[in-house]
Subunit: 448 residues, 2 copies
C-alpha cells in the first residue's frame, strides 16, 4: 500500500497547526458574539441555478453527482458553494419570516472552488463572514459597524503581521466618473480595479478604451492615487474640481467610516481611505473594503467586502446588506506552512500523569479526574515505563508538566515542570499551573 | 422570484437552534480537550478509490466534477467523505512520521451521503468522533478511555434525554460462536445484529441459514439476551457451558470496560453490557459500542464505535485504533425540529444599548464598548426610535436588558431588566448581569 500523498489545493493541518487555526476561529467568534452577531451555518450545497447566477464564477463550481445515479438530469443538480454570500442571501429569503431585521450574522465555514490550484489559491478553504442585513432599508452606521468589528477581531490576533484596512466608496468614485463624463462608469471601475496588477500606463490605456479622453483618464488616475488615514482625502478630491451629488454622498460616508474606525488604529492596524479600491467584479453599491497584510501584500486582500443595496430580493421585499469576509485559509495557511506560526504543544494536555505500575493506573486516573474537574487538561501515560521514558513522552508533545502520583503505600504527590526541571509536592485538589500553561499558546517564529 | 425552499436531507438551523448546536459542540470540545485529545479537521474530499474500499457504502458517495471539465476521467476522481474514519485513517498514514503515538484525536465535521433521504437520515450531517491510534500495539485501557470520555461529554449535555451506552466485545461473541461450532462466525454476527429490527424467531431462522442447528441457534440467542449493568453478565455467559480462550479474553475485557465506566453512571446515564450488540457490517475486532436515547430508541444508535486491530496499515506498520462516533445531527436535529430544544434568545447580546437621538449614537457606542471590554455581549439599537419601540426590539430577540445611556447634559445611566421591568442606575464600567444571563441558555420544552 503506497503512502497517501496530499491533494493539491486541499490544505490540511497537523495538530499544532490546527490549534492555531482553532484559536483564531475562537477569537473571531468571541468578538463577533460580543457585538451581537448570531452564528449560523448553511448547507454545503446549493442548486446549480443559484450558483450560476453570477456568470463570472461558473467555471469554479464543483458539481455533485450521486455515484449510482443513472442520469444526472433526473435529480435537481447540486453544487458546492463557492462563497458564503450566495448561501446567506438564499437563507435570508428562505427564512425571512422567522428572522428579525436588521439581522446580524457571522458564518465560519469551508467553501470550494473547482479551479486549477495555483499559488495562494485553494480548492477548499475556510472563510469567516459577517453581514448585517436590513428589511428594505439599512442605516449607514452598520457600514461602520462591520468594519470596526472585523478590525477589532484582527487586532486581537496579535500574533499576525500588521495589516491595513483599505476603504473606499462606490458612490464616491461613480459620482466622480459621472461628473467626469465617463460613458461607461462600470467599465472605468473595472479598469481602475486593475491598478494592483498593472502599471498606471496600462490602466490609462484601458481607461481610454472605455471612452475616456487622455485628460479624463488622467483625472481618474489622480483620484485613484488619493489616500489618507484621516478625512483629508476629501479636500484632495475636491481639489480635482468635479462636483456631483453622488460624489458628495460618497465623500461623507467614507469620511464617517474613517472617523468611526480611528479609535481602533494602533501600530499593528491601519485604516486608510484608499480611492484606488474598486472591487471591480462585485455588485457593491457604497462602501467597499479590502485588507492587506503589511509586508505580505502578495497574498492579495485577505479580508474584503462592502455594501449591497440588494443582498437579496424576492420581488416584493429587498434586503440591503453590508458585510466583510475574512479569508481564513488565505491568511493562515501560508504562515503555518512556512512555520511562522505554530503552537507550543501538539496536544491540549497541560499535564502528563505518570503511571507507577499498571496495577496502580487507577491512582493516576484519579489524579487526572481531579485536575480535569478544575479545567486542567491532562492525559495519563500510556504505559508504566520508567519515568525517564514517560518524561520523554511529555517532552515530545510539548506537555509542560509531569505528575508523579503518590504511591499506594503513602508518600506525597509531586509535579515536575520539565522545562525547568523543578519538582515540587502538590495536591491534585488544589494545584494549578500558571494561566499561560493551561492551554497551548500560539508561537510566532521569525523565518528571516 | 420564488422564495427558495429547503432541500430534503440537508437540514439547516435558525439562529436559536444553531446556538444549541454550537453549545453542544463547545461542550464536546471542552471534554475531549480536557482528556488530551487533539482537534483536527480533514479535507471534505477523498479520492474515489479510498471511498470505495468498503463496497457497502459505495452507493452513498457524492462524486465531484468541475463544471467546465470536458471529461471526468481526465482528472483524479474525488468524492465527499461519508464518515470521518476513512479520512482519519488516511491522515494517519499520510502524516505518520509527524504524529506521536498513541495519537488521540477528535474531529467534529460534516459528512455527506448521496442517498435518498428518509426519516432520520440526512444527506449532510455532523459527526463528532474521538479515536486513539497506536503504532503496532494499543493497550486495552484506551477502550475504557474512549468510552469514559464520550460518556462524560454526554453527561454534561444535561438538557438531553437520558441515554444508555450498550457495550459488547467481538472476542466474546466470536469465541462463543466458535465454541458453539458455528461454521461461519461472521455470518452469525451479522444475523444477531438484526435483533433490533427482526423478531427472535426470524433471527433464529437466519442463524439456521448460517449452518447452526436449532439448539446452537437457541444458545446464540440466549447469549444475545444477556445484559447487565455490572460484571454479572459473565456468570450468566458461563452458565451456558461453553469455553474458549477468545471468549475468556472478551469476557475479561468487557468486565473491565463496564467496571471502568461504573463511576460515571447516574440517573441520566446507564452503561450496560449488552451481548446482542454486534455492529454487524463494521470491521471491529474487540470492544463495540452503541448508544440509545431512553424513550427515543427509534432514532437508532446515536453514538457507535469500537476497536479495530488495524484502523490503517501501510504494509509494514499497522495502526490499531479504538474510537467512538457521535451522530450530532441525528441526535439534535429531531429535538430541535420538534421544538424540544431551543435557546432563550436568538442573538448573543445580553444587552441592547438604546439610542436617545442619532446625534448621541456615539454615547451608546461608548457604553457598548465598555460592556464588551468586560465580556458582556451587546448591540446598539439600530434607530433612535421611542424607547417603547427599542424595548420591543429587545423583547423580540429575547435580549434580557435594555441600557439607557446618560444624556449628554448629565443624568445617570440606567439599565432595565425587561422581563421583570426593574430599572436601576448602573455604571458601564462595573455593571455585570448575573452569569446565567451572560450567554444564551439552552431551554428544554416538553412537547407532550
Amino acid at each position: 500500500v503506497a503512502r497517501p500523498t496530499p491533494l493539491s489545493g486541499f490544505p490540511e493541518l497537523l495538530p499544532a497547526q490546527r490549534t492555531v487555526e482553532q484559536q483564531v476561529v475562537d477569537t473571531l467568534r468571541c468578538v463577533f458574539e460580543l457585538h451581537g452577531f448570531s452564528g449560523i451555518e448553511t448547507r454545503a450545497v446549493e442548486p446549480m441555478d443559484q450558483l450560476l447566477r453570477k456568470g463570472e464564477t461558473s467555471k469554479e463550481v464543483y458539481v455533485l453527482r450521486r455515484l449510482q445515479e443513472a442520469d444526472a438530469s433526473t435529480d435537481a443538480r447540486l453544487g458546492l458553494h463557492f462563497d458564503l454570500t450566495v448561501p446567506f442571501a438564499r437563507y435570508v429569503l428562505e427564512n425571512a419570516g422567522k428572522l428579525d431585521f436588521p439581522f446580524r450574522r457571522y458564518q465560519i465555514q469551508k467553501v470550494w472552488r473547482g479551479e486549477r490550484p495555483q499559488g495562494g489559491r485553494y480548492r477548499e478553504f475556510t472563510q469567516a463572514d459577517i453581514d448585517v442585513v436590513g428589511l428594505d432599508t439599512l442605516a449607514f452606521h452598520h457600514d461602520v459597524e462591520v468594519a470596526t468589528v472585523m478590525v477589532e477581531a484582527l487586532r486581537r490576533l496579535d500574533f499576525l503581521p500588521p495589516f491595513r484596512l483599505q476603504v473606499n466608496n462606490r458612490k464616491l468614485i461613480a459620482g466622480f466618473y459621472r461628473a467626469l463624463g465617463a460613458p461607461d462608469v462600470d467599465a472605468v471601475m473595472r479598469a481602475v480595479d486593475k491598478l494592483d496588477k498593472l502599471t498606471p500606463d496600462r490602466v490609462h490605456a484601458l481607461l481610454v478604451e472605455t471612452g475616456l479622453t487622455d485628460d479624463q483618464a488622467d483625472l481618474a488616475l489622480r483620484l485613484a492615487a488619493i489616500s489618507s488615514t484621516d478625512g483629508s482625502f476629501a479636500d484632495r478630491v475636491r481639489e480635482l474640481g468635479l462636483t456631483d451629488p453622488l460624489l458628495d454622498e460618497g465623500l461623507a460616508e467614507l469620511a464617517a467610516l474613517v472617523e468611526g474606525c480611528a479609535a481602533l488604529t494602533d501600530d499593528r492596524v491601519e485604516v486608510v481611505a484608499d480611492l484606488s479600491i474598486a472591487r471591480g467584479l462585485d455588485y457593491y453599491t457604497g462602501t467597499v473594503f479590502e485588507t492587506r497584510l503589511v509586508g505580505a501584500e502578495h497574498l492579495g486582500s485577505i479580508c474584503s467586502g462592502g455594501r449591497y443595496d440588494a443582498l437579496a430580493t424576492d420581488g416584493r421585499t429587498t434586503y440591503p446588506g453590508v458585510g466583510i469576509s475574512l479569508g481564513l485559509s488565505r491568511l493562515l495557511v501560508p504562515l503555518l506552512g512556512a512555520g511562522e506560526l505554530t503552537a507550543d504543544r501538539t496536544v491540549p494536555s497541560a499535564v502528563l500523569v505518570a503511571v507507577v505500575t499498571e496495577d496502580e493506573r487507577p491512582l493516576s486516573g484519579a489524579v487526572a479526574t481531579a485536575l480535569r474537574g478544575r479545567g486542567i487538561a491532562c492525559e495519563v501515560a500510556p504505559a508504566a515505563q520508567r519515568f525517564g521514558k514517560q518524561i520523554r513522552y511529555a517532552e515530545r508533545r510539548g506537555i509542560p508538566y509531569v505528575w508523579f502520583p503518590a504511591a499506594g503505600d503513602g508518600g506525597g504527590h509531586e509535579v515536575k515542570d520539565i522545562r525547568s526541571g523543578d519538582q515540587v509536592g502538590a495536591d491534585p485538589a488544589t494545584w494549578t499551573p500558571p494561566t499561560e500553561d493551561l492551554r497551548p499558546q500560539v508561537v510566532r517564529r521569525s523565518t528571516q
